[in-house]
Symmetry: C2
Subunit: 195 residues, 2 copies
């Protein structure tokens, strides 16, 4: 990685941390610069403006931070229920920087920015779509291997699972980690109820 690429990466990494905790609008560029070796000149060399940096954050940081954990869970065993459960468990409990109090950066950004900025909305939707199709594929795999009746709508279930994830990430901010635990057991029941 060249020095310039490292600088760009530093900006995105630090921006991710701050935006995750404070939100996009409330994270100032000076905030990001203050805790990096990066100067304002460097920032505006790499990004046209704050918005473009936010889009880059979604497209790059999001895909490299969150996506790998999802992919490593899905298709890891032959039992599709176990895989989806493991994906949820990993997302909620095993992720290196996500905490219960601050939730999930993607969920937070959707909440904050989707109504305000169409470019954000589209980038976030694209990201969500990728996840949705991965879950959908896992469900279809379950149907093809006889674990789940073909009468189920795979896409609808996938969206339902993502909806649950969004919900629990938000509720966790009020109820704390214990709610994650009881949610997970209910989630297991939900998966088993699909027959």
């Amino acid at each position: 990685m060249s020095k310039a690429q490292a600088t760009r990466s530093d900006i995105l990494t630090r921006a991710m941390e701050l935006i995750y905790k404070q939100g996009f609008q409330s994270t100032s560029i000076d905030d990001i610069l203050a805790t990096t070796q990066v100067t304002k000149g460097a920032f505006y060399y790499h990004f046209k403006n704050k918005e473009e940096m936010g889009i880059a954050l979604i497209e790059e940081a999001m895909h490299t931070e969150i996506w790998p954990g999802i992919q490593s869970s899905l298709s890891s065993s032959s039992n599709f229920r176990d895989n989806i459960y493991k994906m949820m468990d990993k997302l909620l409990f095993k992720h290196p920087f996500m905490t219960v109090e601050h939730g999930c950066p993607a969920v937070n950004l959707i909440q904050e920015m989707a109504p305000l900025n169409e470019a954000f909305r589209l980038a976030l939707k694209k990201s969500l779509n990728k996840w949705e199709r991965a879950i959908e594929a896992e469900i279809i795999r379950g149907q093809e291997t006889g674990q789940l009746a073909r009468s189920h709508d795979a896409k609808q279930i996938a969206l339902h699972i993502i909806t649950l994830y969004h919900g629990v990430r938000n509720m966790g901010k009020l109820l704390g980690k214990p709610y994650y635990v009881s949610f997970l057991s209910e989630f297991r029941q939900y998966l088993d109820s699909l027959n």
Copy 2:
């Protein structure tokens, strides 16, 4: 209502509209004043600072805006499933100022402010708790009238329903109104699956 009370109410009403659409942190006091007849002196006469106004917003506006619709749905018929379904339908489709793109003000505030401000978190938790107990009571009513097995944990179901609401409000920002429709039909299925 006295003139002073009307002024205070004007502030909270306009603040609610703006915070709902832009978030708490990104709504400035000048924003609120600009579209009201209220001046800065009046604002700071009624509220110590911006934070205290936010807390008042949660405790008052929230309870008077959202709560009535919930209460009128619950206990309206003898079928607890119909009542809970109606509550969800009313919240998603019938509310005077909530839109799909901006979601629900309570959900938004939890997302944004719960991790940043303990006073907000507690006020929001209290508000959520009220809702949770109302749903729980409806479920218990269902159990006592033989519509639902007593083996179910009413509180867990109530929290699950609220989690779903949070999730769908967030997902709606990406997927639009059609998702509300398909969610509602899935929600009906969920309620019927409780036996």
